[in-house]
Amino acid sequence: MSVSPLTRDEHSAEFFDAAARGVLLLRWSTECGGYLPPAAVICPCAPLAPLEWREASGLGEVVTWTVIPVRGTDAVPPTVVAYVELAEGPWITVRVRGIDPAKLRAGHPVRIGFETPEGGGETIPIALPPHPG
């Protein structure tokens, strides 16, 4: 799998700084107190109200997932990608590590961890088994 193509920009700098510290940030509406996905630019409840970054619990559950084989080889494990519903409500798209894909189900609990691509680039969130170890 190729390394992360991500390069930070002004909007995402705080998110990636926190990710590098192992903290997941979500957008948070100062108006309704609801949490929004990291890429959100407004809250529909109050489109003109500012959003802030807030720390998320890092806990969630799998909504759905896909297992993508690497073509031409069985030696490389498949890529497992999931939509995870965070405890705060927003969904994020994450690579799943350390969970047998055959055991995945809708509702499977996960804990958000982080990884930095080998070749460098921004640290990104991933889904891990709910209990460390």
Binding site: L6, P38, T64, T66, E85, G89, P90, I92, A106, E122
Partner: protein, 392 residues
């Protein structure tokens, strides 16, 4: 009771270029030829066009310069239309509105694409770097979600988890499409038989989707000529009346309560189109459903109401969609087995059926045909009801 615009416009011409592994031509070449073929089919000259709507496709390879390439002057309507796979149906809707409002009289709507390169696999066709507004929009790609198949796999898996839909049931959609393709001389897979066992043995592209859950890739172009019903009656071919239309863009949030993978825009575009036509679901004799993946057919049929929510798998497995089935669907083989021309695939087959030009695959009594376009990842639906009579 139908809407006052129901049956007021008609498709008078259909142009389908050579299709599939046709190399050495650009998307513009295909688009020009498609419009020329459609005009010839309608029995009009290109100078009689006063409107041109262009769907630029994924790569944006065709656009407003098409007017110059066609050499048509004095247009009164010219624009690109982008609703991804819903664009073809949407273009017919906008053309009909423009004609009904006097903005134009005779409008060509065209789509063309040429992603295939000689010597390269079809998997290489649509893998350009994703364009994104913010680095955060790149998170899904960084997580490994880098293809349409993977995104639709997430939708299909959610449906499976919720309703118990199976890979074999998705396979039934693929098999039915292939059975129809055997009767379509234009179908790329006309001579390739497909069984459920073949489907189950095909390689996994993005679980739960296998190779035979995925549509083809084609080079080619398709255009239709839309004009007033009155004018269409004076032209060369029997008019295919535009009886009803609707769009549905659910805008599912990426958050708790989202209907992603469970409900599509067809749930709203379908009832709107039927209401405009003054028809009910049981009046629909033929379904031409956008089928970029088998799952798209299955979930769209549910949302149109041809079966209950969550019952699309059993519905497909019953053989309902196949030749001889209770609900003939994708009668040309669809994008899965005939050709992939975005929303022009179902639209072109809808016109063929409405004209009674289906030959061995013609469905008897095709008086009301539902054509369904789908774009994004089940994000955009546009529906047309077509038929050979202005008031069915």
């Amino acid at each position: 009771m139908s809407h006052e615009l129901s049956g007021r416009t008609a498709i008078a011409g259909l142009g389908i270029t050579e299709m599939g592994k046709v190399y050495g031509r650009t998307a513009t070449d295909f688009a020009v030829r498609a419009v020329a073929l459609a005009a010839e089919d309608a029995g009009i000259g290109l100078t009689e066009l006063d409107g041109l709507l262009i769907n630029p496709g994924v790569g944006g390879d065709i656009g407003l310069p098409l007017q110059a390439a066609l050499g048509v002057g004095e247009l009164r309507l010219l624009s690109t239309v982008q609703g991804f796979g819903s664009s073809a149906c949407a273009m017919v809707q906008y053309a009909s509105l423009a004609i009904s409002a006097g903005l134009a009289e005779t409008v060509a709507c065209v789509y063309a694409d040429a992603p295939l390169r000689q010597g390269a696999g079809s998997g290489a066709a649509y893998t350009g770097a994703a364009r994104q507004a913010s680095a955060l929009d790149g998170l899904p790609r960084a997580a490994g979600l880098d293809s349409a198949a993977a995104k639709y796999a997430l939708a299909a898996r959610r449906h499976m988890e919720r309703y118990g839909t199976t890979s074999e049931q998705l396979g039934a959609v693929a098999v039915a499409a292939r059975q129809w393709a055997a009767f379509n001389e234009r179908a790329q897979m006309r001579d390739r038989k497909l069984t459920l066992e073949d489907h189950q043995a095909s390689r996994v592209v993005a679980d739960p989707l296998r190779l035979f859950d995925c549509c083809l890739v084609s080079n080619g172009g398709i255009a239709v000529i839309v004009t007033s019903a009155e004018r269409a009656r004076s032209l060369a071919r029997p008019p295919v009346y535009v009886l009803g239309w609707g769009q549905g863009h659910p805008g599912h949030p990426m958050a708790r309560g989202s209907g992603f993978g469970l409900v599509t825009g067809a749930a709203t575009s379908g009832p709107a189109a039927l209401a405009m036509a003054g028809l009910s679901l049981s009046d629909i004799g033929v379904r031409e459903i956008y089928d970029c993946f088998t799952f798209t057919t299955l979930v769209s049929l549910e949302d149109y109401g041809f079966c209950g929510k969550g019952e699309g798998g059993a519905f497909a497995a019953s053989g309902a969609l196949a030749p001889g089935g209770s609900h003939p669907t994708n009668t040309g083989g669809g994008q899965l087995s005939s050709y992939y021309m975005w929303g022009m695939t179902p639209l072109s087959e809808g016109v063929i059926q409405a004209r009674g030009d289906g030959g061995p695959r013609q469905v008897a009594g095709a008086d009301a045909i539902l054509v369904s376009g789908n774009g994004g990842v089940l994000d955009h639906h546009a529906t047309l009801i077509l038929g050979p009579h202005p008031h069915p």
